[in-house]
């Protein structure tokens, strides 16, 4: 009997040990660029530049990690990570009713590998008279699957994202998105959004 109790105690302790959590397989995000197009107002560029394609894809992957993968890993959204992939106007929307469409929270922690697969991303750029791409529109159709303590979960997110250059990166500045969440324990009501950030006293008066 003491042997059994000791074994049980050891198992229980092991279950709560960080090393156990670290054994979960790394998330897998599979997202590739698909059809590329550019709408020109001048004569250039002939095609969507590679660097624009790469930066837009990097922004989309960062968005999926921040909006879906991290919340499923940690149980909550990392707002700092989200804010780094969206523009200021979208950051403000994250405090409103769109939050439940933009991020996946309240689902619980994943107990199995998180896999996100997407259809090839079509990217359309809008180029100004000097040939600079100033706006990009990316299609998004992804399905994230994993398992939480309550059971299997699948999240499909589809629509279009509008992105604009911001310094050396591209950020999401607009969206038309639909999200479907299926599975046991999927929250049936939108989680409460965090309070809006306090006004910046240094900002110019509107």
């Amino acid at each position: 009997m003491p042997v059994v109790l000791t074994a049980l105690a050891g198992t229980t302790a092991l279950a709560g040990h960080p090393a156990h959590a670290a054994k979960r397989p790394k998330p897998r995000v599979q997202l590739t660029a698909g059809a590329l197009a550019v709408e020109r107002t001048g004569s250039d560029p002939a095609a969507l530049p590679d660097d624009v394609r790469d930066k837009v894809m990097a922004a989309l992957r960062a968005y999926i990690r921040a909006a879906t993968v991290r919340p499923l890993q940690k149980g909550q959204v990392d707002d700092a990570a989200m804010n780094s992939v969206v523009g200021p106007a979208v950051t403000a929307r994250l405090s409103g009713p769109d939050r439940s469409v933009l991020v996946d929270e309240g689902i619980g922690r994943a107990t199995r590998r998180i896999v996100v697969k997407g259809l090839p991303v079509a990217i359309t750029g809008l180029a100004d008279g000097q040939g600079r791409v100033v706006v990009a529109v990316a299609t998004l159709d992804t399905v994230a699957t994993t398992r939480t303590a309550k059971g299997k979960v699948a999240i499909r997110r589809m629509g279009e994202l509008v992105l604009s250059p911001d310094a050396d990166a591209w950020k999401i500045t607009g969206y038309t998105l639909q999200v479907d969440r299926v599975g046991k324990g999927v929250p049936t009501t939108a989680p409460a959004a965090p309070p809006p950030p306090a006004p910046d006293p240094g900002a110019p008066a509107q």
């Binding site: 929307r93 750029g125 809008l126 279009e160 994202l161 607009g174 639909q178 299926v182 999927v186 049936t188």
Partner: protein
């Protein structure tokens, strides 16, 4: 009496059937659980949500749209089609105020002449003074730009409400629905002789109708965010702008395509006789402009 094991084997399925029956009866009696409102104990849930957002002004703003009569790029043209579009993004309403080309400008002379002498900045200044507003953005196009633009978007569907047959402008339209090419819509927008009494005033109103018809036509194509990029590129190739770069133009294009044409009002600026062939802004216009200036919506007109 049968063997207890046999009785057990019979009883268990029977009990299961009874339980299933009660459950089905309860289901029918109280209705199926609705996952959206129910607790999470029952079943697999499916929850859907959607949202759309465009980075655009979050307060009322005004856009000046000028059709100039230049036949070639680079030529100065008279601002013969003058329209101020007020948009209230908070309510989804918009108002077009149509200014007849012969209207006297606050700075003297006909307002259409300012486009030829000072371009968009000069016209903006006159309209701002006239209406007591601050125009944020302006665009202008000439005859070939207008025609190419309409052709490249595939034409515009518009309802002609009375016969329009005028050799000078090129109209030959019977009442009814028309899909107009660039040349046809230009003729429709220029025709004043089909209206012996109202002439230029009715022409200005028709130009406002053409703007709303173009909006309705483009919305019907449901272009989405990527399709909007195509439309904005077409627009940008054929217009000159003031206060707008291409990314702003894209944002405004997205906002415009979100507007319900039924919520866009088209109103002629009231005018009366002025000096010579000029039209004077009627006293009644002051109230109209004040009503327009505060939120781009005409509550009292």
């Amino acid at each position: 009496m049968r063997h207890p094991l046999v009785r057990l084997l019979v009883a268990v399925p029977l009990a299961g059937l009874l339980l299933a029956g009660f459950t089905a009866a309860a289901w029918l009696a109280i209705g199926a659980p609705r996952p959206v409102k129910a607790a999470t104990w029952f079943a697999v849930h499916r929850v859907s949500a959607a949202a759309s957002f465009t980075s655009a002004p979050d307060r009322p703003f005004f856009v000046l749209v000028v059709g100039n009569d230049a036949r070639h790029d680079g030529e100065p043209g008279l601002g013969d089609a003058l329209h101020v579009i007020g948009v209230n993004p908070l309510t989804g309403d918009a108002t077009i105020l149509d200014i007849p080309r012969d209207t006297e400008a606050p700075g003297g002379g006909k307002i259409n002449a300012f486009q030829a002498t000072g371009g968009l900045p000069a016209t903006i200044a006159q309209v701002n003074r006239m209406m007591g507003i601050e125009i944020a953005y302006a665009i202008t196009t000439n005859f070939p730009g207008f025609v190419d633009m309409v052709d490249e978007i595939g034409g515009v569907d518009i309802e002609v409400t009375e016969p329009m047959h005028d050799r000078d402008s090129g109209t030959a339209f019977d009442p009814g629905p028309h899909r107009m090419s660039g040349d046809s819509l230009l003729a429709f927008s220029r025709d004043r002789k089909s209206y012996p009494i109202e002439g230029d005033r009715q022409r200005s109103l028709n130009q406002g109708r053409a703007i709303i018809a173009a909006l309705a036509t483009l919305r019907a194509q449901n272009p989405g965010a990527a399709g909007t990029a195509r439309l904005v590129a077409i627009l940008a190739r054929h217009v000159e702008t003031e206060g707008l770069d291409l990314s702003h133009l894209y944002d405004l294009g997205r906002l415009a395509l979100s507007l319900d044409p039924a919520r866009v009002r088209n109103v002629l600026v009231p005018t009366g006789a002025g000096g010579g062939t000029n039209l004077a802004v009627a006293p009644a216009a002051r109230d109209l402009f004040a009503d327009f200036a505060d939120d781009a919506i005409l509550q009292n007109h």
